[in-house]
Symmetry: C2
Subunit: 268 residues, 2 copies
């Protein structure tokens, strides 16, 4: 009997050329489809919610597929992770959970929204162990200004200014950002590998957490780059209001690098 | 004028075949010697304190070298890291500091002792982002028992039971362990990447921190493996006393994997 299965997937994006299957390069979708095809004994096609770019990470990517395997659904994570980690040495992918969903469920089309986290290490020093998981910004960022600017981004807007070239022309660029928070914490409490016995660390960790009903191409990374420029004093918070109204990408900030971005959750 | 320079070095051991220079494989020493040779304009030979194995990390490795460059010593870290990160894409090495030392100083021979940290993720769940930086142990470990066993390891002993084959025959295996602490903490406060919005995490982080005047081949990893087996209830704490007295490697525990080990500091 064929079942429709929804997976929740975690991956370290560092050694993948993004989610989307491509010939001759290692992708998350391609790797998982290989593993699932082995597991199910037939060629599997995985429908992912978010086509994350190369270097982008996921805590809660979702993807659905149909298969005829008799494996109980609650055993699928263990079976997949075992093949991934032990057999194929793909330890950078992990299936967190699996559930059976209705016949007509589709991981992308049924999604109501997503949450992303963009992680910045604001310091002159960067532990080597975090190089693939943070955007390192040297200049001290003013988080108060960043939070002020965030206020002009929350809500329903035409976000064309935060869309990279390469989106779908003709498609509406109006989206709703339900929440956008900028949090700050001392790095001593996070990933302490680099602080052996040394007390010389200065700086802070800044996380930008955003949830919305949908995101344009590179929207979160461009918002992050824009907020970083606000934090540096290059763009004023009030200017962000005008940037959004302008719908002009060239007025917004740079596209922050991929390794700071984590797809946290998909909502159904 | 030739100067003798001591570097403090941090590295992510994942993509190296250890510290020691070897032909045809990527090593920390080999990579740093390339960079320093570029910087100094002459062939540089680096003397490292600890020949860490493949996969083992360092927060405070030390290495000394002689060179004639006019670059001020305090600018050496930036210059090296710039070449490493930007030019050679070796972002997994970082020179933390550089100081000029006396003519006869040698990073290894002058060392009075070292401190290591061995890091365990004691949980059924392991974030993919930590896979190269922790020993994942599934079975719940009893930290109280581990601390009791640690008491029999502290002090001056003949540690032959914790020496892997391949050490120097005929060399004394007596060493002094100045301190050995087993600490435990909730993982929610450490490396929160994997805890996006999910509150389903169970388990704990266990760190074994050890300092001593010198370490035999694989000694810290065998002590870590032994303490893990004590924590699992396979070896009793009192048995560790007898294992040390026996000087018999086959009675001690397994050699814990390299990725949990960090060289924290070298003492002069």
């Amino acid at each position: 009997m064929e079942r429709n299965i929804l997976l929740t997937i975690e991956y370290d994006g560092t050694d993948f050329s993004g989610w989307q299957r491509q010939p001759d390069v290692r992708t998350v979708q391609g790797t998982l489809e290989s593993i699932l095809s082995r597991l199910c004994g037939s060629k599997i096609s995985l429908n992912g919610t978010s086509r994350t770019d190369a270097g982008v990470h996921a805590l809660g990517q979702r993807a659905s597929f149909r298969c005829k395997t008799a494996i109980p659904v609650e055993k699928i994570p263990f079976a997949v992770n075992n093949i991934a980690g032990e057999v194929m040495k793909d330890g950078d992918i992990k299936v967190v959970s699996a559930e059976e969903v209705s016949e007509d469920f589709h991981a992308r089309f049924n999604a109501k929204g997503k949450k992303y986290r963009y992680r910045i290490r604001n310091s002159a020093a960067m532990p080597v162990f975090l190089r693939n998981y943070r955007y390192r910004v040297w200049k001290e960022l003013d988080v108060k200004l960043m939070r002020e600017a965030a206020g002009y981004i929350r809500g329903t807007h035409d976000f064309a200014c935060f869309q990279a070239a390469g989106g779908n022309p003709g498609e509406s660029t109006v989206r709703t950002v339900h929440s956008l928070e900028v949090t700050e914490k001392s790095p001593e409490t996070d990933c302490a590998e680099s602080f052996g016995g040394r007390q010389d660390f200065q700086g802070k960790d800044i996380d930008i957490e955003i949830s919305g009903d949908g995101f344009l191409y590179n929207m979160v990374r461009i918002i992050a780059g824009t907020l970083v420029e606000v934090g540096m004093g290059k763009i004023s918070p009030e200017a962000v209001k005008h940037i959004v109204e302008s719908k002009d990408r060239t007025l917004a900030g740079h596209t922050a690098p991929p390794q700071g971005l984590f797809l946290v959750e998909v909502y159904y």
